[in-house]
Amino acid sequence: MEKLRKSLTTFLVPLLSILLAFLIGAIIMAGLGANPLTAMYALFKGAFGTSASVGTTLNKAVPLIFTSLCACFAYKCGVYNLGGEGQFLMGATTGFCVVHCLGLTGLPGILAALVTGTIAGGIWGMLPGILKITRGLNEMIISIMLNYVATLFMGVIYTSWIRDANMPQTPSVDDSLKLGRVISDMRFTWALIIALAVGLILYYFLYWTSSGFKLRAVGLNMTASRFNGFPVKRYILISFIVSGAIAGLGGASDLLGTQYRLINGYGSGYGFDGVAIALIGQLHPIATIIVAIFFAALRVGSTSMQVSTGVPTSVSDIIQALVIVFSVAGMALTKLPEFEAFRLRLFSKKGKEEVNA
């Protein structure tokens, strides 16, 4: 009963937010002179219409799944890791440099790229963590600054150190390193399987293990966790490292799955998108994955929407932003005492029981 009530608000708020965001999106489309229904149809058809488009959508979802799981894990421990983008890029860059410079190919190369990418992301995530627990610094500012540093570092690689002739980009990774398709006539690759596996492992860890339980407790109340004997600082640092490592693994997987080379603009916005997705997914790893796929669908579909109806792709960006704007406000609303009173009045019979209890 209680569980039902809780999950109702958990599902209802994001769902209503999505509907509301689409409604506003439709109004914008109408304002631009397009038929919203046709445009929406084009959008969904573009994202899920054919097996090819489903594959594209899923591939597009891979980096978002990683960065949103990265944000999700840190939030669960009560810290704000806004550095998903930097950790993602450090993972991709390091993975690329390792296989490129060592000339690795085939499975050893793939493993090397994934492992070193994970480590690099973990280190990049560790920096704000260390500064937070030793110097009390605001982890948000530090992690954002590190995003810029990581982006610029990647720039150094593709403009100066490993440049592909006269183009400002690196050469592509060796063909033997590219992650293959899982099903031959679907476009999505093993990178998606890695992403889903990470999500499942996080779900298991957070909700079924003692350490995950404690990590969540630390995230909800650090003082009480300390009083009850949990090593709070250790958990915070670990959450930063793991969170960064997830993003780093994501960078390496995406590089080998779809991206293949480092190029200007790669990874831009993935970190903040990840935060938004994790929040809409109510910080639940499985829900987060679903929301990430939904966001990817909006992106993929918006291109075909633009082609067939002339509605610019940025409408889908606005819809995505509105989903987060509404869902966060909605969650806050349901926590207000006034809302609780309203809910009680609405279900007055049930309400009385609870009050009397």
Binding site: R135, G136, L146, L152, A276
Partner: protein
């Protein structure tokens, strides 16, 4: 190094510092009322676009600045409603603004100027020299031959110092950020002050953004704010939540920025990105040295509920 190199460097530092200063002052006013707003980047982005468009349409940079301020206020009211009235988490909502505002800006730009349009250009605001003073060698060009926005920024810093240091209203305003419950028992309108702080924050951040398109770069490009909104957060911590401190912090970051551009031009064989990292790395180093524990308004970032029961 020649004198002109140094003058140019300092001039550039001031030019770089001014937008940052507006945005940082926006955050200062916000946090003094207990509102941590990390949506500055987004606010400045809409400010930049609004400033650009109005200037493009009317040719008047002042209208551009004004419109930038209005756009900033408009967007920040969403943040204000969610965080003050609905008690949403400040950080999370600031993030939401950072996603919404740039999406909105790029949508409007694309719809208005067309998807693949070549970069539109506007004329920048002209510098105004203060007679006599501007002819003082070295210092003259440095301090008295700038755009009015620079003078406005300096005036704002002075005003901020007086407001928080000497005025009754400023004292009451600070009390809201320190201990809202205590302020409320004395009849200080906490909710109204918090909303006011969001208006000021939106306006100043919008102006900071508009400065970028009307006084700094002649075009609007996506990502034009390029992290200034976040560096401004650091500047407030570094500047110890005071007007003067924030000014110094912004000059420091502006100097880092100016320096990296100069170093890039020198072309000494080091990839230019390493120089571009300077402001960001400097921010991290400065914060590490200064630390941020137990500083700033006590009730910063905490939701305020009227009847707690």
């Amino acid at each position: 190094m020649s004198i002109s190199f140094v003058t140019n460097l300092i001039l550039a530092a001031i030019r770089m510092a001014v937008p940052l200063l507006f945005i940082a002052l926006a955050e200062l006013y916000s946090e003094r009322a207990g509102m941590v707003n990390i949506g500055l980047e987004g606010l400045a982005t809409v400010g930049a676009l609004a400033g650009f468009m109005l200037t493009y349409l009317t040719g008047n940079t002042w209208l551009g600045i004004l419109c930038g301020a209005l756009a900033g206020i408009l967007i920040n009211m969403i943040y204000a409603y969610a965080t003050v009235t609905l008690c949403a988490n400040h950080t999370v909502y600031g993030m939401a603004i950072n996603l919404l505002a740039p999406a909105l800006a790029s949508f409007i730009y694309r719809v208005y100027f067309g998807e693949g349009s070549s970069l539109m250009q506007i004329t920048l605001m002209q510098g105004i020299g203060i007679p006599v003073l501007k002819d003082i060698p070295f210092l003259g060009t440095l301090l008295f031959n700038q755009t009015p926005m620079v003078y406005l920024a300096v005036a704002l810093v002075i005003f901020t110092g007086i407001f928080f240091g000497k005025s009754k209203a400023g004292l009451n305003y600070k009390a809201v950020g320190e201990y809202p419950k205590a302020a409320a028992t004395l009849g200080i309108p906490v909710i109204r002050t918090k909303y006011l702080s969001c208006v000021i924050c939106g306006a100043l951040a919008g102006i900071g953004g508009a400065y970028l398109t009307t006084c700094y770069s002649t075009t609007y490009t996506e990502g034009i704010v390029s992290g200034r909104g976040f560096i401004a957060l650091a500047a407030v911590i570094f500047g110890r939540w005071t007007g003067g401190g924030v000014l110094l912090a912004c000059l420091f970051f502006g100097f880092c920025d100016a320096l990296q551009i100069r170093l890039q031009v020198l072309n000494i064989g080091i990839p230019y990105q390493f120089f571009q990292m300077i402001p960001y790395v400097a921010t991290i180093l400065v914060l590490t040295v200064v630390g941020s524990r137990k500083a700033g308004p006590q009730a910063n970032g905490k939701p305020y509920r009227k009847e707690e029961r």
